[in-house]
């Protein structure tokens, strides 16, 4: 890909980001609900306090000024103070980000670990009973409402069997000094197997609930692309050369078949990284999804705006990377 088109692609991102910032700002103007009143709730309120809070939140300025202020600060990475936490939005989001990142990565790993073998298997044994079973089983993943499945898992594994904890990210018996803030990684880096086991037990159920739909999608993509690759001329050629079926499979077919899988996985990661409010609420997982949806219901504008920009940036970046990946990897396919 030429440098020129690379820059061109990059330049396309800016209007998208700007468009999104306008939309979210307009949304905060048009959606009914007053953040000051919501915050003050039921008890004693005086007019002076209301005015003071409005000033604190910057809501006394006219909309155009607020938007320009927001843009100017956003470019410098300052998204203001969260109305509710009354701390910088960036800090609030940063404190919840590691949990979401960790859960997304584990869910993705789970999805890949399940989807790739299943997909390859189904493609190799196409139209056999096993293919049918694998296909139907994999479709379960996108046929279940997440919160229903999640609560079922809790009921079975946590309440009935007591094998796994009900909620949360970690227990309270093992403290680990954070390095990356990803508990599984940190506990391994510090050589604390007890902490690793504890974190693993907590992440299993939410990761399965979150990863199952992703596994379904990836399985179907893998199967389809595997079927496609197995059909190609160079496979027949390799077989003619005398390589066994397994050798053909692993040396030639798999590598190429996984390219679409990887591309789709990259895009799915974007969706996962946004956090999933449903899974986080059911499992008490301290992630970003729950934080953002709660913020919407209390009209915490600065946090909503920052979160939207974060998601947009992530989505746009991942798309960009996926595009680049595909262009780089493509020549290999043409062999």
């Amino acid at each position: 890909m030429s440098f020129g088109s690379f820059i061109e692609r990059l330049a396309h991102l800016l209007p998208v980001l700007f468009g999104i910032s306008v939309i979210v700002f307009v949304m905060t103007l048009l959606t009914p609900g007053d953040p000051v009143q919501i915050m003050l709730g039921d008890q004693h309120v005086t007019d002076e306090l209301e005015q003071a809070l409005r000033r604190d939140m910057g809501l006394d300025l006219p909309p155009q000024e607020r938007f320009l202020k927001f843009l100017g600060n956003a470019i410098q990475g300052n998204f203001g103070l969260s109305f509710y936490h009354r701390q910088p939005v960036v800090d609030v989001i940063a404190s919840r980000l590691p949990a979401t990142i960790e859960l997304s990565l584990v869910a993705l790993l789970f999805a890949l670990a399940v989807a790739i073998p299943l997909g390859v298997f189904a493609a190799v044994k196409k139209n056999s009973i096993l293919d049918r079973i694998a296909t139907v089983t994999s479709l379960f993943g996108v046929s279940l409402p997440g919160f229903w499945f999640g609560i079922l898992l809790i009921l079975f594994f946590a309440v009935n069997l007591r094998w796994l904890p009900v909620s949360g990210r970690a227990g309270f018996t093992s403290e680990v000094e954070p390095i990356t803030h990803l508990l599984l990684l940190d506990s391994l880096l510090r050589g604390r197997l007890d902490a690793f086991w504890d974190a693993l037990r907590h992440i299993i159920l939410p990761a399965i609930t979150l990863g199952l739909p992703v596994a379904s999608i990836l399985m179907r993509v893998t199967r389809a692309s595997m079927l496609d690759v197995l059909d190609r001329d160079y496979i027949t050629f390799a077989q003619a050369k005398g390589l066994t079926k397994t050798q053909v499979l692993f040396k030639h077919a798999l590598k190429n078949a996984l390219i679409p899988t990887v591309t789709v996985a990259a895009l799915q990661t974007g969706a996962l990284l946004g956090g999933n409010m449903v899974v986080e609420t059911v499992f008490g997982w301290p992630g970003l999804g729950r934080l953002v949806v709660e913020s919407i219901f209390v009209r915490n504008y600065p946090l909503i705006q920052a979160a939207v920009m974060l998601y947009a940036f992530t989505y746009v970046t991942l798309n960009f990377i996926a595009d680049i990946l595909y262009t780089i990897l493509n020549p290999k396919v043409r062999l």
């Binding site: 009914p32 609900g33 007053d34 009143q37 919501i38 915050m39 003050l40 709730g41 039921d42 008890q43 004693h44 309120v45 005086t46 002076e48 306090l49 003071a52 809070l53 000033r55 604190d56 509710y84 936490h85 009354r86 701390q87 404190s95 919840r96 949990a99 609560i151 809790i154 009921l155 946590a158 309440v159 069997l161 007591r162 094998w163 796994l164 904890p165 009900v166 909620s167 949360g168 990210r169 970690a170 227990g171 309270f172 018996t173 403290e175 086991w197 504890d198 037990r201 609420t281 059911v282 499992f283 008490g284 997982w285 301290p286 992630g287 729950r290 934080l291 219901f297 209390v298 009209r299």
Partner: protein, 511 residues
């Protein structure tokens, strides 16, 4: 086969490695929400205050029966209607060992009441201190709170505030107060895992706590943890699995299960939040008092309480809860009487019944539907419309704007149990919680007089009279005050729930 055996081994391994059962002398609370901040002055959120209250003490506090009792201050008197003098106990220390003096009190209250006092921000709790204008330090253990105008409810409102250390705030700065805790409470902060848990451990230098609440001394448990579990089913599951000892907001339909489990029980306490249906008195069918009375007669409130709330609520015929100051005990009830309701409707011009809309937020949807089911018999064809709480609030409660809607099932809390916090906002003309558009100058006069009346008996009478008026005019259908339900493990002893939904863990022990 190998596969199955491996799964079994894995399962056994999982089961054997510490199934999350709490360690000895560690108490865990399954809590429905996280704290927004750990700065006692910088929030306006009940769940946040509940957590903070275990690490920061206040000048006074409430016991489990909602009486205002001493805490940091051992006694107080009103020198005159605008001056209250307090005497602090001696020997109170902050978690870092430094002594507390009246200077810290003055600093804390100034921080709460002065504009822009917190690093350029105003404390959202300012209005909870009403006309407090300042604090005068007499000596290290004596101070006076000064009021701009008489405020008889000062002692009732002080429990909402917690005191901070002046030196600490000046050392770390206002912004850092969000996670840096140096209080006088029975527990000190170990770690705040945002969104997940607040981990505290016993402060062994605790001055002992209120002498009016037994036992006095250090906290019973070594560690106390608030674990955030927002989903109802998950929270109850955690209690049933033995992972937590106390849970708040136990849904009434799960009472049977928690009671049936041999390791758990239910504790109920009178609530302070009045549930009612605000009717649009300004326009529409409910501007006619006969229609409002008909609605009241069309509802079998006790049936709904029995079926939906498991009986865990007290009916109320006025806005005040049964435990509130000034409650009028003799308010006539609008008995469930379908014939009377129909007659009133016919008289008002609706012989074939009437179609009305009931707005409600998601949390109360079930009750709204039950109301609609019951009222149908009398001719009220109620369409329940579920909306978002913040949207409904702006439709019914925007000052100066006409009310957009007919009926709204909602509630109003009254943690101080004093009518000023509930009566005035919900019924005074044009006040911020007046979602019925009710405007009665006679009532306004009574409420205004009660605001500044210092004689307790006279003040109570004013409120009783006021309740009689609203009971007669019925701008809202007063439904009930729901009890607070908590699920508690049988391993826990010593803790009692209180009506203001506080969870003070000082007395809670775990065996």
């Amino acid at each position: 086969m190998n596969f199955t055996r491996n799964i079994m081994v894995l399962g056994i391994a999982l089961a054997l490695t510490a199934p999350g059962v709490p360690q000895a002398s560690e108490l865990r609370v399954g809590f429905s929400a996280d704290a927004l901040t750990l700065d006692p002055a910088n929030h306006r959120n009940r769940e946040t205050e509940t957590i903070i209250r275990n690490m920061f003490d206040g000048i006074v506090t409430r016991d489990a029966d909602m009486n205002v009792v001493s805490q940091l201050a051992e006694s107080w008197t009103a020198i005159d209607p605008t001056t209250y003098e307090f005497k602090l106990r001696s020997g109170i220390t902050f978690h870092n060992g430094s002594a507390m003096t009246a200077d810290d009190i003055k600093f804390s209250i100034d921080r709460l009441t002065q504009e822009n006092a917190m690093g350029g921000q105003t404390s959202p709790r300012q209005s909870l201190l009403g006309p407090v204008s300042g604090v005068e330090v007499i000596d290290d253990l004596t101070f006076r709170i000064l009021l701009a105008s008489p405020w008889p409810i000062l002692p009732a409102m002080l429990p909402f505030q917690e005191m901070v250390s002046k030196a600490h705030v000046e050392a770390v700065g206002d912004a850092a107060m969000a996670d840096s805790v140096n209080g006088t409470g029975p527990f000190k902060l170990v770690e705040w895992r945002k969104g997940q848990s607040v981990i505290m451990e016993r402060y062994d230098g605790y001055y002992g706590g209120s002498t009016d609440i037994e036992p006095v001394g250090n906290a019973c448990v070594e560690r106390a943890i608030f674990q955030v579990i927002p989903e109802n089913a998950s929270r109850v599951a955690a209690l049933l699995a033995g992972e937590v000892h106390i849970i708040d907001k136990l849904p009434s339909h799960m009472i049977a299960q928690v009671e049936a489990n041999p390791d758990t029980k239910v504790m109920a306490v009178n609530g302070t939040r009045t549930t009612f249906m605000a009717m649009n008195n300004q326009s529409g069918p409910f501007s006619d008092i006969r229609v409002r009375h008909a609605m009241a007669h069309a509802l079998d409130r006790q049936l709904i309480v029995d079926k939906i709330l498991n009986g865990n609520a007290s009916l109320t015929n006025g806005i005040l809860s049964p435990d509130a100051f000034g409650k009028n005990e003799n308010l006539p009830a609008y008995e469930y009487d379908v014939a009377k309701a129909k007659a009133l409707l016919t008289e008002a011009g609706y012989p074939d019944g009437i179609d009305v809309t009931l707005d409600v937020d998601g949390a109360n949807k079930e009750i709204a539907e039950a109301i609609a089911a019951v009222a149908a018999e009398a001719g009220f064809r109620i369409g329940v419309v579920v909306g978002e709480a913040s949207t409904l609030s702006s439709r019914f409660r925007t000052k100066g704007e006409p009310i957009d809607g007919q009926m709204w099932l909602t509630s109003w809390g009254n943690g101080s149990l004093d009518p000023v916090g509930i009566f005035v906002p919900t019924h005074r003309s044009n006040d911020r919680g007046n979602s019925s558009g009710y405007a009665n100058p006679e009532l306004d006069a009574l409420l205004d007089a009660a605001n500044i009346e210092t004689d307790r008996a006279k003040r109570a009478k004013l409120y009783s009279d006021a309740e009689a008026i609203v009971n007669r005019d019925l701008p809202k259908i007063y439904l009930w005050v729901a009890q607070g339900l908590k699920g508690v493990s049988t391993k826990e002893a010593g803790w009692r729930p209180s009506s203001d939904r506080r969870i003070n863990l000082h007395d809670a022990c775990v065996n």
